[in-house]
Symmetry: C2
Subunit: 192 residues, 2 copies
DNA sequence: TCGATTTTATACCTTCCGGTACAAAACTAG
DNA sequence: CTAGTTTTGTACCGGAAGGTATAAAATCGA
């Protein structure tokens, strides 16, 4: 029964391009014209396929978590608490200072989306971050190798504070090598 | 010789209100209507007194550094490296989680101002942050109480990474008490 | 009181925003 | 080939953005 003109573009590839633009320019800083130009589709196709700008962003954020930022989830599978933390911090440096990707972190950038209309986007980003923090805390509660006196919930928040800071440094122009040294020092301070 | 109708508002007070709005809503998220409403002046008065939106932001950022964020400069006067770092980190928590001020840090928020027209604003914020980092590095080079192996430049960057992360956590909804515990743990990790 | 000068208030300008109506094009089923 | 369906391209909509022209209002020196 369904005939219809076939879609002339790859929706997944288009979503990847949208992700790239949102990551580089932020939600508010990205106009529909920016999106359609990057995705190589026209406006009605975007709306028919992805809903609207806000829904498109939501899908881009989900893709970000499963793709470029997948290390954050995988890090929790490491066998020791220390290695979990190390993978998160070192992974943040690599993620936010890539040569072929925008600098900074989409989730951190999106928390700073301002203006009345971007409130739902900010909430999405906050929810995503909160979920990551809960998962890390749960994982650290299982760890037996934390230095004495380190509480899992506070350590989880400190680790995310450091990875958030790394993202800010990366958008501020700090290079990968410099941030690797920062990560080295942070890990040394945390675990000796 | 100069006659002329007298100005009917306090320019400093108006600038403080503009700072408040930029801090809470970001550069791009703040419209001229938001500004004139908050400052209780009309549009031509804003342009005659402060130039344009971008110049107004520059003056608000300078006021931020001398006012709410003055602790960052004063911290460098502490007598030991450790106390310098402690004042910076604890000061960041208090600054970014104030009851009567917006949460987060204006300089960190502004680094995330996106879109083509806000490039100069981002550059202003980056320059401001870079100057602060140089000053901290210089100060830590004078310190004699750093733990062995801590290089002043890397430590300065790590400290700013942590304060940046605190600002991100604050805009993400983390409360003052929680961030105080994070600061405690960070300082304990850094200095034992 | 009378110009000269500066600020006020209103109303407007251009441009771009996110979002959509509509018709031509490209396909499948019969 | 036709009927039905979906996507494509273009052109447009209302609204809000940053910024400004203009004239009334309020002060000064003379």
């Amino acid at each position: 029964m369904p005939g219809g003109r076939p879609r002339s573009f790859d929706a997944d590839a288009a979503l990847d391009r949208a992700l790239e633009v949102f990551w580089r320019q932020g939600y508010e800083g990205t106009s529909l014209s920016d999106l359609t130009a990057a995705m190589r589709i026209n406006r009605p196709s975007l709306y028919a396929t992805f809903g609207n700008k806000e829904e498109l962003f939501g899908k881009a954020l989900a893709r970000y978590a499963d793709g470029p930022a997948a290390h954050a989830g995988e890090a929790l599978e490491a066998s020791t608490g220390r290695e979990v933390v190390e993978r998160l911090i070192r992974g943040a440096v690599e993620l936010t200072t890539g040569d072929d990707t925008p600098h900074g972190c989409l989730a951190v950038n999106s928390v700073h989306a301002c203006g009345p209309d971007s409130t739902p986007v900010r909430h999405k980003a906050v929810a995503h971050r909160k979920a990551a923090e809960v998962a890390l805390r749960r994982r650290l509660e299982q760890a037996t190798d934390l230095p004495p006196g380190y509480q899992p919930d506070t350590l989880a928040r400190l680790v995310h504070t450091i990875t958030d800071g790394i993202a800010v440094q990366a958008v501020s122009g700090r290079g990968r090598d410099e941030l690797r040294h920062v990560a080295d020092l942070a890990l040394r301070a945390l675990f000796g």
